[in-house]
């Protein structure tokens, strides 16, 4: 991929970085390669105030690159964030996480536990992890590398781990104060929750992708605003930072099969 073009992975990273643009001084947590690079890019460029860890328990002033590090590399530590403190922080609401759920439904409810029945699942995954506490306490976004009706399911997700905009489940039918779902970056589009009653809406389509294509691969109706922009291309500065600083070993090349270009064939 030359400097003129960019890959789909690079497009997703820059699109996902936007999640943290206006957050100010919150803990940015990106789970998985693309969310982590996106949070790192946001901190390295338009929101340096973000708190970030080294992926373990140290706060760092500069994002830590992914993959093998140069001999003698020492992260620029600025504090300590062990797991116990992470809970104290997140209960206070000052965090924005981006996660990769196995299933997402029309309400934005998420699942990483299992597929099938709870007592004897067809496939057991991790468990709800911190999703219930995260989603009721602070902002959350998502990265879905395989936009399909298998992920964006028609009904509710098989095990609701992450809270969504589903009043039937809310205590007393009132929206929990901390519930704040922001964006979903997929391989086809950027979605948000700005449709009527927080309906999931297409915020932008990646170059060469149509609304129909996004809708066909989604198990529920997507809101269609009057006009849908094309997802903004990465800038030269962003590409340079991702390629040379944050991901020098090009781990992002393995996110999508064949490492496709960001502009799909046939697109203008």
């Amino acid at each position: 991929m030359g400097t003129q073009g960019y890959t789909l992975a690079e497009l997703c990273i820059t699109a996902a970085a936007e999640a943290w643009r206006h957050d100010g001084e919150v803990l940015a947590t990106g789970i998985g390669l693309v969310p982590r690079l996106a949070a790192s890019l946001a901190k390295r460029t338009f929101n340096p105030a973000l708190l970030m860890t080294d992926g373990e328990c140290m706060l760092v002033a500069e994002p830590v690159p992914v993959g093998p590090r140069k001999n003698g590399y020492v992260p620029s530590f600025e504090g300590w964030m062990p797991y116990a403190r992470t809970f104290d922080l997140l209960w206070g609401g000052k965090r924005h996480a981006m996660v990769g759920p196995v299933q997402v439904d029309r309400y934005g409810q998420t699942n990483i536990s299992l597929v099938g029945e709870y007592a004897r699942p067809k496939a057991a995954f991790l468990g709800v992890r911190g999703f219930p506490g995260n989603t009721i306490n602070h902002a959350n976004s998502m990265f879905v590398p395989n936009h399909s009706a298998r992920v964006f399911v028609a009904g509710e997700v098989d095990m609701v781990g992450g809270v969504g905009y589903n009043p039937a489940r809310w205590p007393d039918g009132r929206k929990p104060a901390g519930l704040d779902l922001r964006i979903i970056v997929t391989d086809l589009a950027v979605l948000d929750f700005q449709g009527p009653d927080h309906q999931i809406r297409v915020a932008s389509l990646h170059p060469g992708v149509s609304f129909a294509q996004a809708q066909e691969n989604t198990g529920f109706p997507l809101a269609h605003p009057t006009s849908i922009p094309v997802t903004r291309a990465p800038t030269a500065e962003q590409l340079d930072i991702v390629r040379t600083v944050l991901d020098p070993h090009d781990l992002r090349a393995s996110v999508f099969k064949g490492n496709p270009p960001g502009v799909r064939q046939g697109a203008a």
Binding site: A124, G127, R129, T135, N137
Partner: protein, 292 residues
Amino acid sequence: MLDKRMSLADIAGRLRDGMTVGIGGWATRRKPMALVREILRSPVKDLTVVAYGGPDVGMLCAAGKVKRLIFGFVTLDVLPLDAHFRAAREAGALECWEYDEGMVLLGLRAAGMRLPFLPARGGLATDVMRVNPFLKTVRSPYADAEELVAVPAIKLDVALLHVTEADQLGNSVILSPDPFFDELFARAADQCYLSCERLLPTSEICSRDKARYNPFERSLVTGVAEVPHGAHPTASVPGYGIDVEHLKEYSGATGDAWSAYRAKYVDLPDHAAYVEAVGGAARVEALPAPVF
């Protein structure tokens, strides 16, 4: 003079069928794996296990020791999923109390505080409430009248922890970057047992500089076993990192392959034989600290 030194077999011998056992550490970090293997060799069964789960949970599942699991996740970090936990769960062999991670924390803290529950938001509006029908909510008695989860105390019969250094009195230090929730496990338990990398005189553990790394007071500790490399194949930093190669062999040893893994690494005369089986002390100590 107090002397809480015990052997691994002595500690495993304190477990009884049906007990609730909390295991410290986190996923693939500072798990008391030598104690877990000792449990595998013992006749104890029908355990309720409480953990931020890694191969400790998977191994106990593979050996059929777990009746009920109270957890937020089971993962091998570098490998997202533990095949033995998956197999047991998909076979319907486990009773799962699947909690939010913060609920596990609060349940342990409530037990340590001798409270019946602590309130939380995490869990509301999710299936955590549906799949654990015994969970109840409480309403704030104040003007907000907010409905909250009453996270019930998770009282432990036994806590099993792996620390960096300890003395024979039960004083300990955890020199790893993150102490995780070991303190809460210790406080929630009637009996707390430590394995440690090094058993040292008190003066070498509790200097003014190192006392900052003392996770809890010795009065919580029932027994201590010196077990160098006792967290392998999980990490005990400083000392050694995660043995990714071994975790792959372990997680790949499902079905018929489990008995071969067990013969090679579990059914051994002692911990020294285990360290030899995994390549020797020098190999373990050369495992790099994990980079996340």
